[in-house]
């Protein structure tokens, strides 16, 4: 009888990308109503707990006995020993993920997909437009921009949330605000009279932001409708389609471009994305069914 296969013992995708390794929850914290951030640690065994990833990539996370979902990495790529995922509890699996506590096991496959164009961003102004939970996949890009700050021009973060209570990473945004080398504007769709920040949709911030459209690159993530409005505003500000990148979300299952669940016209979101340059998906964005 053949010996049973060796269980995967490290965080990098094992030779078979469909086989998850086991990670454990190190910490869980609440970031907004229904939104939880989990710090995961891959089971050791090869002397390292490192799990290198690029900003914008995602992992497939499994809650054993419940199911598997794609979740973007939201932590610092320079700290590959701590895998941070921010989850909105909206379905059976994400709800189960959000209920996990320290020490609980999580199946993990990844990292998958094409991330944000950090190399192309070098030497240019970087405009980040995030809506709702869309800030989570962009946070690794921000960490990388901060780490190599001298390599980039102006950095602008425009973030929109539903209400003040729904603002993600609030304390961290406050700490970023204290930096003098980034422009940050946060807006909410509605607020009570105690809120003193902006109110209005995030796209209205674009025309007020200070960047050079001829030498800028935009990274956009949020609900698809919001991204369409943001792209219109960015183009109106002078950015061309080759300078706008967006992170798409589709029903990703296998994460390796095999099953076809996330097929988006001629591309697979899991394999060719989730980050796409706008001109490559532009014609598909307005279609009702694809």
């Amino acid at each position: 009888m053949a010996p049973p296969p060796e269980p995967p013992v490290h965080g990098r995708t094992p030779p078979d990308p469909m086989v998850p390794c086991v990670a454990r929850v190190r910490r869980r914290r609440r970031d907004a109503p229904q939104v939880w951030t989990l710090d995961l640690e891959v089971d050791g065994g090869d002397g390292t707990k490192n799990f290198p990833f690029a900003p914008g990539q995602f992992n497939m996370l499994t809650v054993f006995g419940v199911g598997e979902v794609p979740i973007s990495l939201s932590g610092d790529p320079a700290k590959p020993g701590c895998l941070v995922h921010t989850v909105r509890a909206v379905g059976a699996v994400s709800d189960a993920l959000a209920r996990l506590g320290p020490g609980d096991p999580v199946g993990l496959r990844g990292p998958f997909g094409a991330g944000w164009p950090m190399t192309e961003a070098a030497g240019r102004d970087v405009v980040i437009v995030a809506g709702g939970l869309g800030l989570a996949p962009l946070r690794p890009a921000l960490y990388q921009l901060f780490a190599g700050r001298a390599r980039y021009g102006k950095i602008v973060l425009l973030y929109g949330a539903r209400s003040p209570d729904d603002i993600l990473f609030r304390r961290e945004i406050e700490s970023w605000r204290r930096r003098l080398d980034i422009e940050i504007e946060v807006t909410v769709d509605h607020a009570s009279s105690v809120w003193h920040g902006h109110v209005g949709v995030v796209t209205t911030l674009i025309s007020r932001a200070d960047f050079d459209p001829l030498h800028a690159i935009a990274l956009v993530c949020g609900p698809e409708v919001m991204m369409r409005f943001a792209i219109t505003a960015l183009r109106h500000s002078g950015l061309d389609d080759q300078s706008i990148y967006l992170s798409m979300e589709r029903n990703m299952k296998c994460a390796i471009g095999f099953c076809g669940h996330c097929q988006f016209g001629p591309v697979f979101v899991c394999r060719d994305g989730p980050v796409f340059r706008h001109d490559r998906v532009q014609s598909l964005l307005a279609l009702k069914e694809i």
Partner: protein, 153 residues
Amino acid sequence: MEGLERIVKEHPFFAGLEEGFLNLVCGCAKNVRFEAGQYLFHEGEPADQFYLIRHGRIALELTAPGRGAIIFQTLTEGEIVGVSWVIPPYRWTYDARALDLLRAIAIDAACLRQKCEADHDLGYEMMKRFLPILVQRLQATRLQILDVYGAPA
């Protein structure tokens, strides 16, 4: 008056306005200042002025029973406050409150409406400037109504 003309001319809303029209608009304009927390106008009051914001921010609010004031939009330097003066019955449909010290140019709406009636070229010029703002705010409202962040991003 020269100072006022310069301020009006430099405001983004009136950027590139022809000199003759500028004189007509300035004839209806005055400098105003509001302290933080002070209301510019309330819902239901006559919309007898609109404002060009020079400095500071304004919250536009609606009050719902049992919920207090809900801010649905904030406006800042370079923007205008108020479009109700263009459309009968010329009454405000929301409250406007200064969030911090506000400096603005107030344009007398009745005065400008009369001049627009008398000079349709001026009226058309005003419409060309107001319509894009109305459309932009309509689109923003559509996005707000969709409540896109209520669903997973």
